[in-house]
């Protein structure tokens, strides 16, 4: 019993050792492609069949990942190594240059339109003068920065003298003036910077002129956008442009596509009332009189009259000459009288209608 157990234990231990050793060497049909600069290994072997695996999928995938990682790491160990941070530091491999070109993470930045100064400079032909970064400071007798920490002209906040300029008011506080002017300069710069930004932003979102001509290949939204731009590109900004047949009646609001803005709840009620009355007047003026009904009624009356006349004529002709002579003195009076009344009623009703 003890021998069996010992043998079993030894066999298990040996198997584990073999597996460990086996796991260091991996057999693959095709060699992997390595880009050690990016720590990348590309495996072009046909993939392990995952569909037929069923519950063993996880195991297969894990084994595949382990094998490939093993190959990559063994390659990394073959790289030239050095000790970082002098002797006693960690062992570091020197990675070669990466060969695999990774795609851009963010989209390419758009070229921004030139600022007002840049436009002016281009117009005048002013070119940028290359300035030296350090300036000789005579007082301190050393090279100092042009601006910033320890600048050439001395710290402006510690200036203890501020001369009163020639034509200035003697009672004016010069230090306050200097501070104020600096603040104004900063504010003006900031304003111009924001203006340039806004101009660039606006220029980026404007519709280019090329698609304004209909090509036949534009989709509905594009055409609608272009139609809106075309409508607004008049001297009066589209206020007096006639509407297209199926265009909506609302004038394009200033924040088209953004938040809707409504009239205030308790705004000028008298103005609201007058607007509504005007709207009613416009609506009322365009409404046509009910000609259709009148025409239909007239037609109906005519039809009835004709039908009645036709009936009368038909009945008399059926009886013949003899019948007419016989009927006229006695019964015809009654019949014609009876027949006349409903006709009269109908005509009266049609007359008022």
């Amino acid at each position: 019993m003890a021998a069996v157990r010992v043998e079993a234990v030894l066999a298990a231990a040996e198997e584990q050792e073999a597996e460990k050793r086996r796991s260091v060497t991996v057999e693959k049909e095709l060699e992997l492609e390595y880009d050690l600069g990016n720590l990348l290994a590309v495996d072009r072997n046909p993939p392990v069949a995952l569909r037929g695996a069923g519950p063993r999928r996880e195991e297969l995938l894990r084994a595949l990942a382990r094998d490939n990682t093993q190959l990559l790491v063994s390659r990394l160990w073959e790289l030239p190594v050095e000790r970082a941070g002098g002797a006693g530091g960690p062992l570091v491999a020197q990675l070669p240059e990466p060969s695999f070109r990774l795609p851009r993470e963010k989209p390419r930045p758009k070229p921004r339109p030139p600022t007002r100064w840049e436009q002016f400079a281009r117009l005048k032909g002013i070119r940028r003068k290359k300035k030296t970064s350090l300036v000789w400071d005579e007082q301190a007798k050393e090279w100092r920065r042009r601006w910033g920490y320890r600048r050439a002209g001395g710290d402006p906040s510690r200036a203890w003298l501020a001369e009163v300029p020639a034509g200035a008011d003697p009672d004016e506080d010069q230090f306050a003036r200097l501070r104020r002017e600096k603040r104004e300069r900063v504010a003006r710069n900031e304003l111009n910077r924001l203006r340039n930004l806004a101009r660039a932003h606006r220029a980026g979102s404007a519709v280019a002129a090329a698609p304004l001509h209909p090509t036949g290949h534009q989709d509905r939204d594009e055409l609608r956008r272009v139609a809106r731009v075309a409508r607004v590109s008049t001297a009066s900004l589209g206020r007096f442009q006639p509407r297209l047949p199926k265009e909506s009646a609302e004038p394009p609001s200033r924040n088209a596509g953004k938040k809707r803005r409504f009239e205030p709840l308790l705004g000028n009620l008298a103005a609201e009332r007058s607007r509504q009355l005007e709207l009613l007047r416009d609506m009322g003026s365009k409404k046509p009189v009910l000609d259709i009904t009148r025409a239909v009624n007239k037609q109906l009356r005519q039809d009835e009259a004709e039908a009645a006349a036709a009936n009368k004529g038909k009945k008399q002709s059926k009886r013949g000459k003899r019948g007419r002579r016989q009927q006229r003195p006695g019964r015809s009076g009654k019949k014609s009288g009876g027949r006349r009344q409903p006709q009269q009623q109908k005509r009266a009703g049609g007359g008022t209608g």
Binding site: A249, L265, L266
Partner: protein
């Protein structure tokens, strides 16, 4: 709650005009006070200025109904007139239909008005004209659409529909929850 935009006002006035014609200006401009239309949760309300000022101070979620509901805008921005507007439409109605006592109940249950139940009808009513339905005692019962013009009404057989039902006062009992 907000005022109606111009497009919405146009839609509402067109719908009201089908029933009361140019008398809408009597609703817009009244001698006894300033009244206005306001939109609250897709429903159009008609309320006086005094009520408007009071309702303006109520939070939107808690406000149930300011004034009288005339109708509501559907999801596709069509305006549907509801029976709660009857009190304002009835006095100004241009085309009226009087219903016989026997078929009053049928109309109040939501059925159309047949020729057999038709008492009187205003002269020169066009087909598909908006009409207000009254009982023979001149009590407004609801409104609808004329299915036949007056001339045709005279000649049609007794079981034909002459007025399509759109809204009636029976809805106050039947559709209590749908009205605000």
């Amino acid at each position: 709650m907000r005022p109606l935009t111009e497009a919405e006002t146009r839609v509402v006035f067109e719908k009201l005009g089908k029933y009361i014609g140019e008398n809408i200006q009597l609703l817009v401009e009244r001698p006894d006070g300033t009244y206005c239309f306001r939109l609250h949760r897709d429903r159009v309300y008609y309320l006086s200025e005094k009520l408007l000022k009071l309702a303006a101070s109520i939070p939107r979620e808690s406000l149930v109904a300011p004034g009288t509901c005339f109708g509501k805008f559907t999801k596709s921005q069509k305006f549907r007139l509801s029976v709660t507007a009857l009190d304002f439409l009835a006095p100004y109605a241009k085309y009226k239909v009087w219903v016989k006592p026997g078929s009053e109940q049928s109309f109040l249950y939501g059925n159309h008005v047949l020729k057999s139940g038709l008492g009187r009808i205003t002269e020169s009513t066009a087909q598909y004209q908006g009409v207000v339905v009254f009982s023979m005692a001149d009590i407004p019962l609801g409104f609808g659409v004329a299915a036949k013009s007056t001339q045709e009404c005279r000649k049609v057989d007794p079981l034909a529909i002459v007025v399509f039902h759109q809204a009636d006062v029976g809805e106050y009992v039947r559709n209590e929850d749908a009205l605000t």
